[in-house]
Subunit: 209 residues, 2 copies
Amino acid sequence: MGNARKISMKTLERIVLYKRILGDLAAKGQKTLYSHQLAELAHNSPAQVRRDLMITGYSGTPRRGYTTEDLIKKISVTLNETAEQKIALVGIGNLGRAILAYFNYQQPSFSIAAAFDSDETRVDRVIAGCRCYHLREFESKVKELGVTLGIVTVPASSAQTVADMMVSAGIKAILNFAPVPLKVPSNVFADRIDITMALEKIAYLASIK
Amino acid sequence: MGNARKISMKTLERIVLYKRILGDLAAKGQKTLYSHQLAELAHNSPAQVRRDLMITGYSGTPRRGYTTEDLIKKISVTLNETAEQKIALVGIGNLGRAILAYFNYQQPSFSIAAAFDSDETRVDRVIAGCRCYHLREFESKVKELGVTLGIVTVPASSAQTVADMMVSAGIKAILNFAPVPLKVPSNVFADRIDITMALEKIAYLASIK
DNA sequence: TATTACTTGTGAAATAAGTCACAATGTGAA
DNA sequence: TTCACATTGTGACTTATTTCACAAGTAATA
Ligand SMILES: NC(=O)c1ccc[n+]([C@@H]2O[C@H](COP(=O)([O-])OP(=O)(O)OC[C@H]3O[C@@H](n4cnc5c(N)ncnc54)[C@H](O)[C@@H]3O)[C@@H](O)[C@H]2O)c1
Ligand SMILES: NC(=O)c1ccc[n+]([C@@H]2O[C@H](COP(=O)([O-])OP(=O)(O)OC[C@H]3O[C@@H](n4cnc5c(N)ncnc54)[C@H](O)[C@@H]3O)[C@@H](O)[C@H]2O)c1
């Protein structure tokens, strides 16, 4: 869309975090803050914060810092959060259900519009306010509901098949919890959250301390 | 421990992935492979694979490539996987239970030794083979069982308190699922998996495609 | 009003990560 | 055995990210 400047992955991740921190502060009534305060809360440096905020185009004022509400709004615009996006989750297992339950409470710029599974015993019900359908209804529901994002919580062996289905249904970005990299066309973005890998990582880091 | 060379986070993450891929190939009977094949499966470049493998000290042979089993062993040694590590999970909610259920099936170089919660109704039972205790028993159980790793799956408001408790019980590394950075002393490592952030990230990336 | 004391935004430098490209080398074929 | 050649390991280069450091600017104070 509009945003001319390209945001690096690292900066993207941090400004999402900044927005959340700012939201908490705003809820507590804090009107302004300095880069060093945001840095403290985000566990990084003031220079990093200021550099990251450059891409939003928002300018603080010297000596006064940033206005909480304005900065939140500017980050939201930068993140194109104007239009709410809909998510389809595939794989109503333990992890899938935890995610469904969680994102019902939350109300960010996206919502899980529908969930799917290939197991007949897991479909045709409502979990945490989200309807569960059989996988065969995937493409039609995605199109009907205007889904643009996908969450993959199926076993690794089925993850690529599910991703392919998402791509052909027109989904634009996928978050994959299966421990296998997905192959998607270059006009689709796929990210992976690999919990096992994260554990092996901390196991290594504990072992060298 | 022994490992002189410092592994970068990026390389660490990738060699963990390589090991898993190699394990799958070995299970299917593949004896050797080339850097370009591993790159294909890991979704990166052959040069990246070879560069990453340098820190293991393992050398393949030109024209024949890498011997699957040998490379797996060398990565395991690099990752100090000789001694199995024990994990304590705190927060037996939706996500915590999904994780408990999952890591019971798996048998890697670590296992979840005990789970804890502050809610009386969630303790004194066994979930997926893992005993659940009240949080007040945390320190004694951690020491009794020799736990070195912690998983935090409590609400954001309690995450820092739980982390502090883990640190004072002697835990060396923490994996945190709460959407808030943890403050830990420099001899402890804290990593965070932020699912909401990952979703906001793909939402942004979908919006610019 | 002039001055002081901080904070911002950002070029420039430093560091980290990734890619290229090629000499060295072992393999399999003849 | 000899040779052709695909593959490895790595120095050098490129690109990305972070940090430094300081001019410019604003609010508070006197
Ligand atoms: N639960 C965890 O803590 C955890 C940790 C690490 C990785 N993971 C990964 O997350 C994924 C889900 O884990 P889980 O614990 O929820 O597993 P699970 O077995 O509880 O759930 C998997 C679900 O996917 C469904 N499914 C299987 N094949 C399907 C297909 N082709 N189409 C649609 N649905 C299908 C199953 O019916 C089941 O409901 C797995 O890839 C797993 O490796 C989970
Ligand atoms: N479930 C998800 O998909 C999801 C997604 C994003 C983030 N998260 C984060 O993961 C964490 C857990 O999420 P969840 O969905 O499992 O929540 P949940 O409410 O289902 O579970 C939280 C558990 O922690 C326990 N708890 C609360 N305070 C505690 C304390 N001080 N000590 C010990 N136990 C305590 C509660 O009794 C409960 O059992 C939260 O921080 C949440 O923000 C979860």
